[in-house]
């Protein structure tokens, strides 16, 4: 069966530490920008929460190229520089890319970045060279939160497929019908304390009378 590589990101574990962002720079030698950006889902600023103190929330959303089944960026590229491998990985041929950036607005996830130094558009390539040699994507390796998982989405037995099923992982912007290959596990519900936990106990120390 054909492989379909993709990522699962656990939003419960992701702390927005940007290690993936920097890891991508390191692995793909990107001085400015990165193939992975981490969005704050919260207040108006990076790292600021939504809500009113103290009822607040903040999540982080790492976004990379979704390696879509139907990549709109590919269709927008007049130079035919963007192509898809049989395993689903979408790549940009930097020899063909002329830096026109027409693909940038075509991506519903704003996952493409223009590299002015090289006059090409760049994006996450799922570390395909690493995958081809049996290594995991560099962002998944470096993620200290253990929030990024990679694998074969076409194999129902794979770790990522099972994680998607167990955690009801979802895709972003399904209405765009591009078939993205990055799934997100939603944060788990906050747990309440169980039972009375001894609050009904009357066995206490007799406090001496205050003097």
């Amino acid at each position: 069966m054909a492989k379909r590589y993709g990522l699962v990101v656990d939003l419960e574990r992701c702390t927005g530490c940007h290690t993936c962002t920097i890891a991508c720079k390191v692995e793909n030698k990107m001085e400015v920008g990165s193939g992975v950006r981490v969005e704050t889902v919260g207040g108006t600023h990076r790292d600021s929460p939504a809500g009113k103190y103290p009822d607040l929330s903040i999540y982080y959303l790492p976004i990379a190229c979704m390696h879509c089944d139907q990549p709109p960026c590919r269709d927008a590229c007049h130079a035919e520089a963007i192509y898809q491998r049989p395993d689903g990985i979408v790549l940009i041929d930097e020899e063909k890319c002329d830096g026109c950036q027409e693909c940038l607005p075509a991506c519903p996830y704003q996952a493409l970045v223009y590299d002015p130094d090289r006059n090409v558009v760049r994006k996450c390539n799922l570390c395909f060279e690493r995958l081809d040699q049996g290594f995991e994507p560099f962002c998944a390796l470096c993620c200290g939160d253990q929030a990024i998982f990679w694998g074969d989405l076409a194999d129902p037995e794979s770790g990522v497929s099972q994680l998607i099923a167990q955690r009801s992982a979802y895709i972003l912007k399904p209405e765009k019908e591009t078939g993205p290959a990055i799934y997100y596990c939603p944060p788990v519900e906050r747990r309440q304390a169980k039972g009375t936990l001894g609050l009904d106990s009357k066995e206490g120390i007799k406090f001496p009378k205050a003097s």
Binding site: T21, P49, Y53, D145, R191, G198, E203, F207
Partner: protein, 743 residues
């Protein structure tokens, strides 16, 4: 060397396992990729079972090849801080240092030569200290720059061999409940954070107390906002509830703590056998309920009373636990609520949950102890853990290295950081006239910037800075020396004992020192040579490391340089006693603190709390928290991280901003009587009313004007001074904020 796993390397690349000694704490393992002598890439170096490198660690490549690195020694031209420098040779730099130090030492005595340094490899540290000892100089202990208040309590209550006794309340294999006190490990300690999230995944409930809604708080099951600096009152309120309901762990208190020990009413000391029968032992006495008489605590079949007042030789004696019960009585939930701002119901509910959901871990951050009475904060949290038996006996192993081998020529005077101010101004306890700052950016990171620059710096006759960059401190130096990065020399990295891992690691040299930079060892050795300390530090790095490892201590059994080259190593099978206190038990009642009235943990209002008169003038509490983008002032100059966090901001909530006519993005002046800083406001609803925060690490050059350290103070807490080291109460600061106009 084993890399711990398969590693993808490009053709021509060599991969070397090394370790980071940087002062973030965890001591990360690092796999460094080198090609043609150039460090090209960094990736996580695993420990058995774990290992990762954060965004900062991955960015160290950009520190190494940063264009602003100090490249050669320089001497000051013009006035201090003017920024005019002249390149000089190492010979001239070292000769000048030796000559100036001799002159100053001749006039003021050798104790006038002071050195401060931050965490670095053990060899660098020991060599530098050893050299200072040989000069009979003064070492300025650096933990007081924010990290020494809580650890005072760890020392007296646990007898912790570590600077920081975090293992005692966190090293549970499977915690069922996690309380996180003013700690943001999601940003500052990825090892600790991974353990918390693993526990959470296994079903542990996680509760965070913090005045600011941190990343860690955002991941918790319950976020409980607390008024800054009031954690001790919360812990005492919880103890009140626990004791009132009888939820304490009587057996643990009796067996492992000083709870049953009798305390004399006359002097507050523990009753000892010799107090009853002169000439007898120092053994602590308990009240035996079977014989109705005082007995030595370790008598066979003794059945100690845990509460009560007993008359011994005409003197009333209460058990230490009785005294704690009486203290806790003063903190009923409504009072704890009034102090902390936490609802009564929440205090009661969490107290019961903490006492009955075992094991329950307490993660204590450095944040919750950065108020003036931070020692009492840790003391109270430890006591809460002790009366519920939520204390771990695991993880108290250590490495005893051969530090003494480096101190053979003399031992330096030791002086806490906060005493430096008086020492420079008034000569007490040492007449400091020369200051050497080795990788410790003192002028930027320590309190009261204006006092340091306008009063201390002019009193110093000679200032040397050895660092990688022209830091704020280096700008005030007379001589700056370029030191190499940790990739450019060999050393040993010690785990710092904050529960991250317990491996000794080799910091293997990966590349040659860049430019004219030298290692700290080489600098110390070159100076020793010039000062005719014949034979001192003349061995090679490897010989010195072998010497360091050969302590003969059981913890070091079988640990050799050759084996460290293969992989990081845990200590040999050797464990410390659970509690290295005078009694061998957990001492929530501390005899030596009775002079300060702090033998038991009680609540003291922060020095600059909003409930003191000064708050009418300066109504806002200022925090200067740590962040994922920097480690202290390190990494602030790395463009990769600067892309993510470009400039300093003041976090402020909308209501406080509105009341002052401040809009998001406005330029503001934050000020108090000590100084000011100008920066942009970032509206942030995660800081409560009356609170503002600056994520620290920035230098004066990054601000529009001033420094956040111009707002902080260096007031010494005498109880902390008596135990270990007084702390900078960096989060105990009142300020006011006013708009300056559009940014």
């Amino acid at each position: 060397m084993s890399l711990g796993r398969l590693v993808k390397a490009e053709p021509g690349e060599k991969v070397v396992r090394t370790a980071s000694p940087l002062a973030c704490g965890p001591g990360c393992g690092i796999l460094a990729h080198v090609k043609d002598g150039i460090l090209v890439k960094v990736e996580p170096g695993d420990f058995p079972g774990t290992g990762h490198v954060c965004a900062r660690g991955l960015s160290t490549v950009k520190l190494v090849y940063h264009p602003d690195r100090l490249k050669y020694p320089m001497k000051r031209q013009g006035a201090r801080g003017e920024g005019k420098w002249q390149r000089i040779s190492w010979d001239e730099a070292l000769d000048t240092i030796v000559q100036r130090h001799r002159e100053i030492s001749d006039r003021h005595g050798s104790s006038s030569l002071a050195l401060v340094m931050d965490l670095m490899g053990i060899l660098s540290t020991d060599a530098t200290l050893g050299f200072l000892g040989a000069c009979q100089g003064t070492f300025i202990l650096p933990a007081g720059c924010g990290d020494s208040a809580g650890p005072c309590a760890d020392r007296v209550c646990y007898g912790s061999p570590w600077w920081y006794g975090e293992d005692y309340t966190t090293q549970f294999e499977n915690p069922a409940f996690c309380l996180i006190w003013g700690n943001n490990p999601a940003e500052t300690d990825s090892f600790k954070w991974r353990r918390i999230m693993d526990a959470k995944e296994r079903g542990a409930r996680v509760v965070v107390f913090d005045p600011r809604f941190s990343t860690t708080a955002s991941k918790a099951d319950e976020y409980v906002p607390i008024r800054p600096g009031t954690d001790a009152a919360l812990a005492l309120g919880m103890m009140n509830v626990i004791l009132d309901r009888g939820l304490q762990d009587t057996s643990f208190i009796t067996k492992y703590t000083v709870g049953p020990f009798l305390v004399r009413s006359n002097n507050g000391m523990f009753l000892r056998e010799k107090d009853i029968a002169p000439g007898e032992s120092e053994k602590h006495m308990v009240w035996d309920t079977q014989t109705n008489a005082p007995q030595a605590y370790d008598m066979p079949e003794v059945a100690p009373a845990l509460t009560g007042v007993y008359r011994v030789k005409g003197e009333d004696c209460k058990t230490a636990f009785q005294l704690l019960v009486e203290l806790a009585q003063e903190y009923p939930p409504h009072r704890a609520s009034e102090i902390t701002g936490i609802p009564v119901d929440t205090i009661i509910r969490l107290a019961a949950e903490y006492a009955t959901t075992k094991p329950a871990a307490s993660f204590r951050g450095m944040g919750c102890q950065r108020t003036f009475h931070g020692d009492l904060t840790f003391h109270a949290i430890i006591t809460l853990a002790a009366i519920t038996g939520n204390i771990s006996f695991e993880g108290h192993s250590t490495f005893e290295l051969n530090h003494l081998a480096f101190l053979s020529r003399g031992i330096p005077n030791l002086m806490p950081l906060l005493q430096m101010y008086e020492a420079i101004l008034n000569g007490k306890p040492y007449p400091i006239r020369a200051l050497w700052m080795a990788r410790h950016n003192l002028i930027n990171q320590d309190p009261n910037f204006n006092k340091i620059t306008s009063e201390l710096v002019p009193r110093l006759e000679f200032i040397v800075v050895a660092d990688m960059f022209m830091t704020t401190s280096a700008q005030y130096a007379d001589i700056v020396l370029p030191v190499c990065s940790f990739y450019e020399c060999t050393d040993v990295v010690f785990p710092v004992g904050n529960g991250s891992h317990n491996y000794l690691q080799l910091q293997q040299k990966v590349i040659e020192p860049l430019y004219e930079s030298k290692s700290d060892l080489e600098i110390a050795a070159s100076l020793a040579k010039r000062m005719d300390m014949d034979g001192f530090l003349t061995e090679s790095e490897e010989e010195l490391i072998a010497l360091l490892l050969a302590s003969g201590h059981p913890s070091m059994e079988g640990i050799t340089l050759e084996k460290l080259k293969e992989s990081p190593l845990p200590p040999a099978t050797y464990s410390l006693p659970a509690f290295a206190t005078p009694s061998g038990r957990l001492e929530f009642y501390v005899e030596r603190l009775r002079d300060f009235g702090q033998e038991l943990p009680f609540y003291m209002e922060p020095r600059e709390s909003q409930r003191i008169p000064l708050a009418q003038k300066y109504p806002l509490s200022l925090l200067t928290t740590h962040t994922k983008y920097r480690t202290h002032s390190m990494f602030a100059n790395v463009p990769w991280l600067r892309e993510l966090d470009p400039e300093p901001t003041l976090e402020m909530n909308s209501a406080d901003a509105q009341a002052r006519g401040i809009q998001d993005g406005d330029l503001v002046r934050v000020f108090n009587d000590r100084g000011e800083v100008k920066l942009k406001v970032k509206l942030h609803q995660g800081v409560g009313a009356g609170l503002v925060n600056i994520c620290q690490g920035w230098s004066p050059g990054d601000y529009v004007e001033g420094s956040h350290q111009a707002l902080t103070h260096e007031t010494i807490n005498p109880a902390q001074q008596a135990i270990y080291e007084p702390n900078s109460a960096l989060y105990d600061v009142l300020v006011e904020v006013e708009p300056v106009g559009e940014a």
